[in-house]
Amino acid sequence: MTATTLTAQAPEPAKAGGPTAESGPPKPSLGSRLASIAASGAVRVVLVVLALVWLLPTAGLFVSSFRTPRDIASSGWWEALTDPGQWTFANYDALLSNDTFTGSLWTTIAITVPSTLLVIVLGAAAGYAFAWLDFPGRDYWFLLVVALLVVPVQMALLPVARLFNTLGIFETTLGVVIFHSAYGLPFAIFLLRNFFAEIPRELLEAARLDGAGELRLFTRVVLPLGGPAIAALGIFQFMWVWNDMLVALIFADAGSPPMTVALQQEMRQFGSNFDVLAPGAFLTMLIPLAIFFAFQRQFVAGVMSGAVK
């Protein structure tokens, strides 16, 4: 599930450049020449067109979600831009008063929050052990974890479905949480182990001298210092699980599925009922987009360190 080639290094979010952060000091020579190209009208026009290409699909969903089924069926969403009378909250009203949909929102939260926390706790504990604790075959175990980074999640669908069936947790929220946690772990361990390994040895030794045990070292020294990496991990795990459809399609309770599956069911049953799909899809996007805009830096840092599903 966590598919990645290992890129450069452990993330250092504080330093990471992102869309918002100008990376590095100004380099006038290339900069000025490229700037002169960029300044040329043609490039600007191209970029504006490209920006539109990237913006319009989402805008279409957004606008459609405020149109009645009749308007959606009879004309394109852009017609609503010149006809404010078409805008209505009716789709959202209907959706939010629909128990199935609000129920699926809760299911999504009930899946996402525990699997994020579980991956952080288990990943940090194992990452700490790999970074600092002594045990036989340590490096080989870590290689194994790294090897698992790119194992396709599809591999596990059938065997785990059988396993969960035996355990009685097939089609339960618990099963989905466990599945997502397992497939978030290789990346979590890899990321946190590398980050924890950068902690100055002196800090740990000083704490050790003060009589701190392994647990105390972990909770008082390693975890607080690991804050930035843990934040990046949490953001990604949260988004992956929130956005997942495949795992939920198979492992979630069909009676109270998370939002992605609930929407997918709408799609298969009735075809193009965009008055449900558009607001539903937009609502599912809200949280990931909010996180994206609020934590751009961590997001970029995470992507740079190989956080790709």
């Binding site: 089924p69 009749r70 009685g168 009735f270 009922n273």
Partner: protein, 434 residues
């Protein structure tokens, strides 16, 4: 359907007070029943009104869970988990038989049988049976032999509802000449194509051949199938008769096939669209067309010398009791669902047709709905259940294979009847495990 619901809610209550109860229900205070069905939205809300009445009359409390599309998988996993729903609505006869075979559902008791004998024809009882035992009660059925048409388009062309297939094809050509594309086909959804085929086949080849084809006792390369496809080709074989042509039809999903017929009342994109009574709810939900004025309906025309076909589908209520007997509450619920009392409340909400022959047609909220119910009831036991629903799911209900794909291939290339038949037969052989 939403509008139908709000329109008649209050009147219904008054009527109900006037009616004599037709069934005595036991006191079930303190008991809980869980009912699972595929319905969502307005369909579910309408059903919940029936449940409210049950709660009021028995004191039991009923909860509703959506089962999702795959009812069989849903119930299977729930039984495995140890907490199956008490009542499940199964959408296919094959699923009912599968449940009975697995021992998940017990045969119905006397209370239910009493209601069935009073209100259901032998044919409608039989579809809820397995090996001679009654397991389920068909509560809600769809009449899949309807052609909906735009009154505007028919006015432009000066034509009226055709009674037989040849007139139907002539009508289509006249409508085309008048400037409206005659037929909207939802080729993107394979199941609508199976319904086209089934109606023609049932009418042309007769009930006996229909039943044999279901059992795959006659091959898909049979002459009867050739005839049915050739007949269908009289329509599908002419690009200009289909809205957006053959290629465009393959990308038209079911709701779009309805909306493109009725969304533009001045210049309809198509004059006719074939499908079941639930087309009505798409019309009211997504267009401004008024059923009975702008949107009218005629029964699927008789083909050749045959009778007009009545193909139906429906949901059967069954009591889930993997360990033997149904509880008193489950029995009471099934009996209630088989009663005219329940059918009345349900029918007046709109969007449903009951197979209950004792139900006064006055219960239906409008003439179109009444007409659809009338056609179904007066067919007596000559109706047939959806053919594709009774074949293995891999053949009759799966995207990209079997009947869906075979008929989509035919719609893409309607001249190649033989190729379509060979594909269908090869798919049937593998799906029936022969």
């Amino acid at each position: 359907m939403l509008t139908a619901l709000t329109a008649c809610g209050d009147d219904g209550d008054e009527n109900r007070a006037d009616r004599e109860p037709t069934i005595e229900l036991p006191d079930l205070s303190g008991q809980n029943l869980e009912v699972a069905a595929v319905w969502t939205g307005a369909e579910r809300d309408n059903f919940l009104r029936v449940m409210d009445e049950f709660e009021a009359r028995t004191g039991a409390s009923v909860s509703y869970v959506p089962s999702g599309d795959n009812v069989s998988q849903f119930v299977g996993s729930k039984i495995e988990g140890g907490a199956p729903p008490d009542i499940v609505m199964v959408p296919q006869p094959g699923v009912l038989r599968e449940f009975a075979q697995n021992g998940w559902i017990p045969p119905v008791g006397d209370l239910v049988q009493e209601q069935l004998d009073a209100n259901y024809t032998p044919g409608w009882q039989a579809v809820g049976q397995h090996e001679g035992e009654q397991y389920g009660v068909y509560v809600k059925v769809a009449n899949k032999s309807l052609v909906w048409y735009s009154s505007t388009a028919f006015d432009y062309a000066g034509v009226s509802a055709p009674a037989d297939w040849d007139t139907f094809v002539d009508t289509a050509w006249t409508v085309w000449e008048s400037g409206t594309t005659p037929v909207s086909v939802a080729g993107g959804d394979g199941w609508t194509l199976t319904d086209w085929f089934e109606n023609i086949y049932l009418s042309q080849a007769g009930t006996e051949a229909y039943d044999q084809l279901i059992a795959h006792e006659i091959p898909w390369t049979d002459q009867t199938v050739t005839d049915a496809l050739t007949t269908l080709g009289e329509l599908f074989g002419h690009n200009q008769l289909l809205a957006n042509g053959n290629g465009g039809s393959l990308q038209t999903d079911f709701p779009t096939s309805v909306t493109q017929t009725f969304i533009n009342l001045e210049v309809p994109d198509a004059a006719m669209v074939f499908e079941a009574d639930f087309v009505g709810s798409v019309i009211t939900d997504s267009t401004d067309a008024v059923i009975g004025e702008d949107a009218l309906v005629f029964p699927f025309p008789a083909v050749g010398a045959g009778d007009p076909p009545v193909v139906s589908a429906g949901d059967a209520a069954v009591a889930v009791a993997p360990n033997g007997e149904a509880s008193e509450a489950q029995e009471a619920m099934l009996a209630f669902l088989a009663s005219t009392d329940a059918a009345w409340i349900w029918a007046e909400g709109g969007g449903m047709v009951s197979p209950n022959r004792s139900l006064d047609l006055a219960a239906y909220p409008n003439d179109v709905q009444r007409g659809i119910a009338d056609a179904l009831i007066s067919a007596g036991d000559d109706f047939r259940f959806d053919l594709s629903d009774q074949t293995p799911a891999a053949f009759g209900g799966t995207t990209g294979q079997g009947m869906w794909q075979g008929l989509q291939n035919f719609l893409r290339n309607p001249d190649d009847v033989q190729g379509a038949q060979e594909y269908l037969e090869s798919q049937a052989v593998s799906a029936y495990g022969e």
